[in-house]
């Protein structure tokens, strides 16, 4: 907004909780998480399926289904506005304009009965006062920007005439249409095969370098994180359990869950017969344990882990690396033990 924009984060999320009503009771899927996104930064949200990554993104855009979902936050600040308190109509002006989103499933995320050109034009039409001709011209530029071959002749074709990778390019073109400040990319390469994944990732990297946009990149693929992210937030069962710069995180994974995730990545430079997998599964929303949600699967768990959820502690100086763990955080365990006994 102001000249100090370089220092101010583009997006600041504070104490975001997203709950769902299951069997008449509200269960949080995202539990009071806070993070901020700097200009031109890529923040990766990492974690297993069902840990709340996608819900975080949908909550920011106000796309959580209202029938059985509820979003609460201290604030979600974007361009001086608090998105968590914005009326529907104001929120609509932000979606696809200031913040846009790329979804996981390119096969089903495009409308099958509308031409792709039209779907890109639509992203422009409600935010920018463009004439029909101008809109189509800009949409064509966008399709060329995301490297769709012979975009002009394919402008009026329908999604079923495109491959998965090409459809994801169309999705990206739609997301970029209004030159958003923030892109929320929800596992944009998961549904694609490996060579196409690499193409899409390098495309996203190029586009980010050319514009000043920031990106929240949701993935469970640590290889993608290493290639793309500036900073990483590891999520588990609705909590951010560790957040750090990408190099710091790969050099010093601190939370036992982060560590376990890294051990689960298949490596071609080591001769291993079996791939490590974390025992157990993420607890279901309706049966969240009382203490640290990872305790039941954690090799390091001690008594206090099972009764109290640890706070997110800053490690060392600089405040860039935080972790939510009784054992690995800055805690005086003896003191903790005393408190627990009381």
């Amino acid at each position: 907004m102001t000249e100090t924009g370089k220092i101010e984060p583009v997006l600041d999320v504070s104490n975001l909780t997203t709950s769902f009503r299951i069997g008449g009771e509200w269960h949080p899927a995202v539990r009071g998480i806070s993070f901020s996104l700097q200009p031109n930064e890529t923040l990766a949200l990492v974690g297993e399926s069902g840990c709340g990554k996608s819900m975080t993104a949908l909550s920011i855009l106000g796309l959580v289904p209202k029938a059985n979902g509820r979003v609460e936050a201290e604030h979600i600040r974007f361009q001086g506005k608090d998105l968590s308190r914005l009326p529907d109509d104001e929120m609509r002006k932000i979606r696809g304009n200031g913040i846009s989103m790329i979804f996981q499933e390119p096969m089903t995320s495009l409308n099958p009965v509308l031409p792709i050109g039209f779907q890109v034009v639509e992203a422009l039409r409600y935010h920018q006062k463009l004439s029909r001709g101008e809109g189509e011209k800009r949409a064509l530029e966008l399709l060329e920007l995301v490297k769709i071959p012979s975009a002009k002749s394919r402008f009026k074709e329908y999604p079923h005439q495109f491959s998965g990778g090409m459809r994801q390019r169309v999705m990206i073109a739609m997301a970029l249409a209004c030159r958003p400040k923030v892109i929320l990319a929800d596992e944009p390469t998961t549904a694609l095969d490996v060579t196409i994944q690499a193409q899409i990732l390098s495309l996203l990297n190029e586009l980010k370098a050319e514009t000043d946009m920031s990106m929240i990149f949701i993935t469970h693929n640590l290889g993608v994180v290493a290639a793309l992210a500036d900073r990483v937030a590891v999520m588990y069962a609705g909590d951010i359990v560790e957040i750090a710069g990408v190099n710091e995180l790969f050099a010093r994974p601190t939370h036992p869950y982060t560590e376990a995730l890294m051990r689960s990545v298949p490596r071609s430079d080591r001769d291993t017969k079996t791939l490590y997998s974390i025992p157990g599964a993420v607890p279901p929303l309706t049966r969240m344990p009382q203490g640290c949600r990872f305790a039941a699967r954690c090799e390091l768990a001690i008594d206090v882990c099972r009764t109290q959820n640890p706070p997110l502690d800053v490690l060392g100086s600089g405040g860039a690396h935080s972790v939510r763990c009784w054992v690995r955080g800055n805690h005086d365990l003896a003191e903790m033990k005393e408190n627990a006994d009381v």
Partner: protein, 313 residues
């Protein structure tokens, strides 16, 4: 697409031939003697025999079949055994009534059913939805002749808005509309009940799709999300049901036609059946089959208008 239409029509020929054969046999299996029906119980054996000869039903069945098929193919469908008028003329006289009734009912059904179904889907499990669902269930289970009589009582006898029996005079638009209003409303409401239910369920399906979320994420206004993105995709099952129901409607409008004293295919069929009018029945069955073929063809062509993935080859 023209090739598709022509091909479909050519494929309809064997269907029509088969139906004609089945109809020919069926009509003669129905118990009863047309001569007896025409002349009554008191007729002498001689008179009956003369009548049978005149009708041609005394000849060998195969001969009758060859004559019927041959005649039908060159457009000679014979004369009604009862009135003596040409079958084609009899049918041509009532067909416009049936078509106008069907088309206007369809329009009423669509105009009520599609928005109501969509509205119900958007307010799923709210009271609006419950009211709509119960209402449409009532519409489905209510016998058409009962609702027709109720309408007559309310609109013609109590409110006196419309005549109980509209005269045959249909010279002006006003007279035409008066004669059509209640029958079309009666069948249209039943149609609306079907369409509401199908639209609701297919709309619920399409609103849950990923592309709806994409449209919202683009900042498309909710109204446009629902109608352009949701409805367009939800219409395909609706078209299927409408197509199937139209076929049923054309034959089943008989009760409505009787209550409102309107001419129509349904009434003609029931009359011909009661009087064992073989030739007229055969003609009506062929027309009925033909109408079904055309309705199916139109249904298939409508799919193509809605869904670009449908290809005509």
């Amino acid at each position: 697409m023209l090739r598709f239409v022509v091909r479909r029509l050519i494929f309809a020929i064997p269907t029509l031939l088969a139906v004609m054969t089945v109809v020919f046999v069926l009509v003669r299996i129905v118990p009863g003697d047309p001569a007896q029906t025409i002349l009554g119980d008191q007729a002498s054996a001689e008179a009956l025999q003369n009548m049978r000869e005149r009708l041609g039903v005394d000849r060998p069945i195969l001969e009758q079949y060859v004559e019927f098929m041959g005649g039908a193919l060159v457009g000679d469908w014979g004369e009604s055994m009862v009135t003596g008028k040409p079958v084609l003329a009899e049918i041509a006289r009532v067909l416009p009534y049936t078509i106008e009734l069907t088309v206007v009912s369809l329009i009423i059904g669509g105009l009520i059913g599609i928005p109501l179904g969509a509205w119900s889907a958007l307010h799923r499990n709210e009271w609006i939805d419950y009211v709509t669902r119960v209402g449409s269930l009532l519409g489905l289970s209510f016998p058409a002749f009962v609702s027709a009589i109720l309408m007559l009582i309310v609109f013609s006898i109590q409110l006196r808005w419309l005549p109980v029996i509209s005269g045959g005079d249909r010279a002006t638009f006003g007279e035409w509309a008066e004669s059509l209003a209640l029958p079309a409303l009666n069948l249209g409401l039943i149609m609306a009940a079907y369409i509401t239910r199908v639209t609701r369920s297919s709309m619920l399906g399409s609103l849950g799709e990923d592309y709806i979320r994409t449209a919202r994420a683009k900042g498309v206004p909710e109204r446009v999300v629902i109608w352009r993105h949701g409805m367009r995709n939800a219409l395909i099952p609706v078209v299927t049901v409408v197509g199937l129901y139209l076929g049923i409607l054309i034959g089943n409008s008989v009760l409505t036609e009787i209550v409102f004293n309107r001419p129509g295919l349904g009434k003609l069929i029931v009359g011909a059946l009661g009087q064992r009018d073989y030739t007229l029945l055969q003609g009506l069955m062929i027309i009925y089959t033909f109408v079904i073929v055309i309705v199916n063809l139109l249904t298939d062509l409508t799919y193509g208008l809605i869904d670009p993935r449908v290809k005509y080859q």
